[in-house]
């Protein structure tokens, strides 16, 4: 959908079943939370989210023994969006819930459903950059959990060493590296994973190219929102689709790209069967859970564009905790949010799940010894070479992008055709939001 989601993996099915059972139990009691010292938080079932929120909850309850905190799990992806919307609509949302920031939040009609936090003193510690991603008019709705996320290329460091390759600064250099890897014949240059539950991974070439789009067309986001600029008539924006078509036509993809899953892709990257995997840096958290030894072999660079002197990374804001207007226990929930927006909150998360990038809370620091991929992402942040993904600059995002990019990456549809089709697709969303000019 709007943002890049991680669908539930097999390991999480048990969690989802537990969540379903918990939901039943709650329904049977006829309340979710209530004024009994228990806070219930609805979170998605990805490793990173559950562990981070659980770490916050454990640290909070250690300091406040009277309060009990329950996590309720929900699936991710479009199905998770449905659950969140339905529970908000029916007034059945627990005391707090975790959800994406940016355009996905805007689709929840936050001003009708969520409590405005802009007057709360704890919001002063939340970075302005993040507040922009959870703002509607002059109201602010969420407290971030987790780190800034970069979208670019995760790559296998040993393979780069063996072949004597350099991190590419332009698309042509990237292509040359791919060709060298292909000629060496040991590994697939580019990993793509279009299996049924992993089609979202196909969007990275387009979405993570936003730094390069904005470098060429600084006002693209505004003009795009106003229906003045489009993917099909803006060469810099179309480039993402073209790059995807190129890697397919050049034969750079792994053989099983059509059926491989996200987990297969990460495993191939870790083992060196594939060298480049265009991905979000929070995949590092996933790898830490499945294959911690591989973390030292994984590096990260921004998706290269045209200009070797302007190389930067497209960033995503992490998700946030939101307070629904229907909560019974607003004071307790706000106290927990204040903790999440504190340095102690960050430290609890760092200890439990490590870091994959900088925090958005004032005063929070990240440890010295981070995996190489995280250190490389941090360099872009330190140099100020970042730009937000389009979904944080414009509410316009079509639901079918992942199918369209799968078609381009599989050689079913040309880049030009795909860009035009995606421009058609976003119309529905813009009209649904009632934007001007559509």
């Amino acid at each position: 959908m709007f943002s890049i989601h991680r669908p539930p993996g097999p390991a999480r099915v048990a969690g989802a079943a537990a969540a379903a059972a918990a939901t039943l139990a709650l329904t049977a009691c006829g309340s979710s939370g209530g004024d009994d010292g228990t806070l219930t938080i609805l979170v998605d079932n990805t490793e990173a989210t559950v562990d981070s929120v659980q770490a916050l909850a454990d640290a909070y309850t250690a300091a406040n023994p009277d309060t009990e905190i329950d996590l309720e799990l929900r699936p991710g992806g479009s199905e998770g969006d449905n659950i969140v919307k339905t529970r908000l609509q029916t007034g059945d949302m627990p005391d707090l819930f975790f959800y994406n920031s940016g355009s996905l939040l805007q689709a929840l009609a936050p001003e009708q459903n969520l409590v405005d936090l802009s007057g709360e003193p704890f919001m002063d510690a939340v970075a302005e950059t993040f507040q922009e991603g959870v703002r509607s008019d002059d109201r602010v709705f969420g407290v971030p959990v987790g780190n800034a996320v970069g979208g670019g290329v995760l790559y296998n460091l040993p393979a780069y060493e063996d072949l004597g390759l350099e991190v590419p600064r332009t698309w042509d250099e990237f292509t040359a590296n791919n060709q060298a890897i292909l000629d060496a014949g040991d590994a697939a240059p580019v990993i793509q994973t279009y299996g049924p539950d992993s089609t979202w991974t196909s969007q990275l070439f387009v979405l993570a190219d936003n730094y390069n789009v904005l470098a060429a067309e600084p006002d693209f986001a505004e003009r795009y929102t106003a229906n003045e600029a489009h993917y099909a008539d803006t060469p810099a924006a179309m480039a993402g689709f073209e790059h995807l078509q190129e890697v397919n036509e050049a034969g750079f993809l792994n053989e099983d790209f059509a059926s491989a899953s996200y987990a297969d892709g990460l495993a191939a990257l870790a083992s060196g069967e594939g060298v480049h995997y265009p991905m979000l840096t929070n995949a590092i958290t996933e790898l830490r859970a499945t294959d911690p030894d591989a973390l030292d072999d994984i590096g990260f660079f921004a998706l290269p564009g045209e200009d070797p002197d302007d190389v930067g990374v497209t960033t995503w804001l992490p998700g946030a905790l939101y307070l629904p207007q229907t909560t019974d226990d607003q004071a307790a929930a706000e106290d927990f949010l204040a903790f999440a927006a504190s340095v102690e909150g960050c430290d609890a998360q760092t200890e439990a799940v490590g870091v994959t990038g900088p925090y958005f809370i004032d005063g929070c620091t990240i440890p010295e010894d981070v995996p190489p991929g995280v250190a490389q992402l941090q360099e872009y942040f330190d140099a100020g070479l970042t730009a937000p993904a389009l979904e944080f600059l414009s509410p316009v995002k079509g639901p079918a992008l992942e199918q369209i990019t799968v078609e381009v990456g599989s050689g079913i549809r040309s880049a030009e055709d795909a860009a035009a089709l995606y421009d058609e697709d976003v119309k529905k969303q813009a009209q649904q939001l009632g934007l001007e000019g559509w």
Binding site: N82, L88, A107, D197, D256, A258, P399, Q403, E407, Q432
Partner: protein, 299 residues
């Protein structure tokens, strides 16, 4: 209860063909009304609104315009018709052949009948997941076996030109048991005199099939066609489990297009899509049903 006996006029008011008073229908009507009629009528209303979490707003026919402009709709429409015709046709042919075979004098007849019927009892999602694993291009059992035989198996679910056909074949595997059952019932109901007369006339087995069984099986055939065609046109669960309409949009049917709109939060638009699907299925099925039953009467 004696009071009812003392009031004979009540019985006169009742429909003479009915054995029970009308209010016996009430519980069923209440359930049917709240769970089916009300949502159906409501969805017809919501089809004319822009409906999302922010509320609903009446926008007339805009959703229908938008739905018909949906770029992948044409592909979905074609796929729906192909899928419906393919599954329905194969179920008729295979069901008839299996029905004839399983009513002849063969060893382990009832066992074979159960074997053919068994897939009908398995959950569709279970079947879909199982076959997705079997049809995996590299690891799947089907291609492994083909490899041993020296044939390079195709990507059953990943090749854009094959995906829909592969799913349709699984649908036939799962559904042919029901068609066979209907045919077996039809064949068993044919009076033995016809076969005896045919034997006296010296009919071969093929002539038996062509001139006795086929014509007398017409009611069974029309039932199978109607059931499988309706099922095929509305099919969603198997396609969604096996391909999610992919790769890309290549195995999308109308139902999966509608579901994706719903998932994206375009609730009014997907309601409009469902109205269109309802009208489409009715437009195909009502004339077909009339045509088939008229032919039945003529015989």
């Amino acid at each position: 209860m004696t009071t009812t006996v003392l009031r004979p006029p009540r019985t006169r008011r009742r429909d003479p063909r009915s054995h029970y008073p009308m209010w016996f229908y009430l519980p069923a009507a209440a359930v049917y009304g709240t769970l089916f009629v009300v949502p159906t009528v409501a969805s017809f209303y919501f089809a004319f609104t822009r409906w999302s979490i922010a509320g609903s707003e009446f926008i007339g026919l805009e959703n229908f315009v938008l739905f018909f402009q949906e770029p992948y709709l044409l592909r979905g429409l074609i796929n729906t018709v192909v899928y419906g015709a393919l599954t329905s046709g194969l179920k008729v042919v295979l069901g008839l052949l299996l029905g004839v075979y399983l009513t002849s004098q063969i060893i382990a007849r009832s066992y074979l009948r159960s074997v053919v019927f068994f897939p009908v009892l398995v959950s569709t999602v279970g079947v879909g997941v199982t076959f997705s694993v079997l049809m995996d291009p590299a690891e799947g059992l089907i291609n492994r076996v083909l490899e041993v035989l020296g044939v390079a198996g195709p990507g059953w679910l990943t090749d854009p030109s094959l995906a829909l056909v592969s799913v349709a074949l699984v649908d036939v595997w799962k559904g042919v048991g029901l068609a066979t059952l209907i045919y077996i019932a039809g064949i068993v109901a044919i009076p033995q005199e016809y076969f005896e007369a045919a034997r006296v006339d010296g009919a071969t087995r093929v002539q038996n099939l062509r001139y006795v069984i086929l014509p007398l099986l017409w009611p069974a055939t029309s039932t199978v066609i109607i059931l499988s065609l309706i099922g095929g046109l509305r099919s969603f669960d198997l396609i969604w489990t096996m391909t999610r309409g992919g790769p890309g949009f290549t195995s999308d049917v109308i139902a999966s297009v509608i579901f994706k709109q719903y998932q994206a939060g375009f609730w009014g638009l997907s309601a409009a899509g469902n109205v269109v699907l309802f009208l489409l299925v009715s437009a195909l099925m009502v004339p077909l049903y009339w045509g088939l039953s008229r032919r039945e009467v003529e015989r």
